[in-house]
Subunit: 504 residues, 2 copies
């Protein structure tokens, strides 16, 4: 077999424009025929309509599919049908039980000084208002930090409002900071006596589109992490004594306003006017329900027990049709795998495509997967999820062994022509549903997508098919097909020695 | 007084780049001091924050203000307060009675083959569904024309859906053709036995934002214009025999889907699937209510009885805060007039600023004005409304006497540096609320705005303050201040001999 002779060490010397191209002396060479196959897969991906057809089918024929809902069950059937029709092996649903929260009716209005209705949405986990709703004064906080600094009792009988804006960034870096108010605002407000929480939507658009999203439950772990203020932590210990048994859930309505409505609240506040707001919300927790992961495989020809996990999440928030979050991720990974399955022979390792269930409501499919496969996670060679919309892949990050990192450096050379640069070599994660298995040592990589606009749509009714650019979607398929093929085919160990030891 | 000596005839010869600059031999010269004053006003307009402050105040302190609603009454009080504080004379409300339609609750969902909720809004004048709603098959029409071509009875017990898209255009030229389905779709559907009408929103965006808007009532005039199909015309004559007494109103629910939802319907239709949709709508006509125009004046120093009418409409649709439609028009014209009022002396003629009421629901304020002032319309020298958003003015059209046209050509030279070219010299209208007085012979001009994006927001919840660019708003004020000042000051007759004769 004729091998490429250029090593990463040589490249590091010759490509002055790529400082840090190779950070150690580990060398790896992709055999020429495998490099050629990967490039052919990428070219085929660029020409393929399959991902578009998949996401069009999912968003049209199923539409919104909240984790645990009847619509998500229909989506699982769709997933089985789709994977079967595309020739995947071992197609199956792996069900799990889950707590189920459902949106209700919602009315939010400024009562005084300037009466008017607001565009708003309940956050996942929000409690209903008392029958007839609640009307109370707003206490305006510039930021989540300001709320955390507020003394106990300051919100007694009032509604907390948190105003901070999300910063737009290529890689979505603004999400984490802005999202604190959504995930833990409720407990900080409730701890201080609030009868409700309003937040500026976690998003980057300026449309009348409130962004929903899950609130965090408070666990022993939350307390241990120190992410709560002392006021909230003390309150949690006093109010939820059985925290080890059942995590603390919100007892107050928690609601996001659209950006223009948040602007309105901010303007009125800056005028020095006291503001009364009425809330009427009926969402809440329902009976336990069923979700599940849908799985299909391309069985490895030489090492079938070694698993590459790729996928997206099948569920969506309930107000959009889940096109960019995460129909696109399902479509990209299924289409990429299908292209690989069309090769004359399967790759050496098994490619397992997972359509994770109930991601939006707590990575439940990811946790179920990691638990269900706890005994075989040592056989999981590397894992990655596509879950950041449908923008083009621009960066490859990885968190794998030294040998695997050198291989990833070489894989990058194959996909670089499609507009991809090398990112982190010891981080970057593998996507939300991969976290539970990564916590147990499964190596990860990520094909990072351009996401400047992602949070314009994220968790809004506006997450619909028309927002996907078919060419950008196809670029994703191209890059995924080449990368996943090589991960499954190359004679390289992505796991560290420790991880491999964990196999036994 | 030193006069500018360049005439339009000279300019026509010297400015080769402006073919048609002057189309007849009429000459007009703007006295130099008046030209200088106009330019100073324009410069002051460009620097002024007043229009922004006005539209911010209206959209924040009143917010949505449907014609005839309690909120519109609050807006009238706001108008009186605003005009009084700004020093206008003869500030008053001129009330009128009006029929009042109010939105209700609405649920629209695809029942089969792919159950999912739709983002939709009732059109103004829509009838409620029977208690419990209605579920029926959709009949898909590519266009309003296709519906008009359909035979009688074809929609018996079914729901008509009209799919045609609005074309995006600088001057909004796509609105008229697309709007036929909104204004008269209901009667064409009802005439054929439909139990409901769904349309693709009349708009140019692709957001989950349905566009509402008024449906036309059918009158003797509608029949005379021949805008109905024979099927519909025959049906109207048979079903609404008292048309001369009371116009025909919809007896079926009429609903607009957002563009992404319309895409969904279209996709399912193209798949060849029959579609069942459920509608539950509770909007409808209420008791007669009160609206009104709010008026303030800058009394002319020499010819106080000669009136220049400018303004915008005070009402908005009920789902947005009416920033671009038409808070901007109110703000631009009030701010421009205020700048003129700050001159050392008032212009020769009276400038009357009118905040028209209930425009969206049938130009009711405009009709009331033309009727109320029927006897003095001959004293109305020229009239214009700003009602096309907050984009920059790019073209001056006019429909005035030959002398007046020559003067407008010269006014154009003053405002051209702000990015304005000359448009129609015998047309262009004066804006919606001006139509009733223009029909009775009042000359008009229009400062046409760039409106490529206007129909992204028009009649949606997304019509909010954040969509206005303060610099573009100020450009409007600049151009309006210069133009209106000159119209009120110049020694020129905008009315034709006939119109002047009508004064007596």
């Amino acid at each position: 077999m004729h091998l490429k002779t250029i090593t990463t060490a040589v490249l590091a010397g010759s490509l002055l424009a790529s400082p840090g191209w190779s950070q150690d002396d580990t060398e790896f060479t992709i055999p020429e025929n495998q490099a050629a196959t990967a490039s052919q897969l990428a070219e085929a991906g660029l020409e393929s309509d399959l991902a578009w057809d998949i996401v069009e089918s999912l968003t049209t024929e199923i539409g919104p599919r909240l984790g645990g809902s009847e619509a998500e069950a229909r989506a699982r059937d769709w997933g089985v049908r789709t994977l079967t029709e595309l020739g995947f092996a071992n197609v199956r649903i792996e069900e799990f039980e889950m707590p189920y929260w459902e949106r209700g009716e919602l009315d939010v209005a400024i009562v005084s000084p300037f009466p008017q209705a607001m565009a708003a949405t309940e956050l996942g986990g929000s409690a209903a208002t008392p029958e007839g709703g609640v009307t109370a004064e707003i206490v305006f906080f510039e930021s989540f930090d300001d709320l955390q600094d507020a003394p106990a009792g300051v919100l007694e009988g009032r509604i907390a409002y948190i105003n901070d804006r999300m910063v737009r960034a290529h890689d979505g870096a603004g999400y984490g900071p802005a999202n604190r108010k959504r995930s833990l605002g409720w407990i900080e407000a409730q701890a201080r006596g609030a009868v409700g929480l309003l937040i500026r939507s976690v998003g980057t658009d300026s449309h009348r589109m409130p962004h929903t999203g899950n609130m965090s439950r408070v666990t022993e772990n939350t307390l241990a992490q120190g992410s709560l203020s002392d006021v909230a932590a003390d309150y949690v210990r006093a109010t939820y004594p059985d925290l080890a048994e059942a995590p603390a859930r919100s007892q107050i309505p928690a609601i996001a306003l659209s950006a223009p409505d948040a602007d309105q609240v901010e303007r009125i506040h800056r005028m020095g006017e006291a503001m009364e707001v009425s809330l009427r919300a009926s969402g809440g927790w329902q009976s336990t329900t069923t979700s599940g992961n849908v799985i299909g495989e391309i069985v490895g020809r030489e090492l079938p027990e070694e698993i590459i996990v790729i996928g997206g999440h099948l569920d969506s928030w309930d107000e959009g049709t889940g096109a960019v979050d995460d129909g696109a991720g399902i479509a990209i990974t299924v289409a990429a795998a299908r292209l690989i399955a069309e090769l004359p022979e399967n790759p050496r390792r098994t490619i397992r495509v997972v359509m994770f269930g109930a991601e939006e409501v707590g990575l439940l499919g990811g946790f179920d997967y990691a638990q269900r496969y706890a005994d075989s996670l040592g056989d999981h060679v590397v894992a990655s999820e596509s879950d950041f919309g449908a923008g083009p892949v621009w960066r490859l990050s990885s968190n794998v062994s030294a040998d695997g990192t050198a291989a990833m450096d070489e894989i990058l050379r194959i996909i670089a022509p499609y507009g991809v640069i090398r990112g982190e070599r010891a981080g970057g994660g593998g996507g939300p549903d991969i976290i539970p298995m990564a916590m147990r040592g499964v190596p990860t990589f990520r094909l990072e997508q351009e996401g400047s606009d992602y949070f314009d749509l994220h968790h809004t009714p506006d997450d619909t098919l028309d927002k996907i650019d078919p060419d950008e979607l196809a670029q994703n398929v191209a890059v995924w097909a080449a990368t996943v093929y090589l991960a499954a085919e190359l004679d390289v160990e992505f796991r560290t020695a420790d991880e491999q030891a964990g196999r036994d």
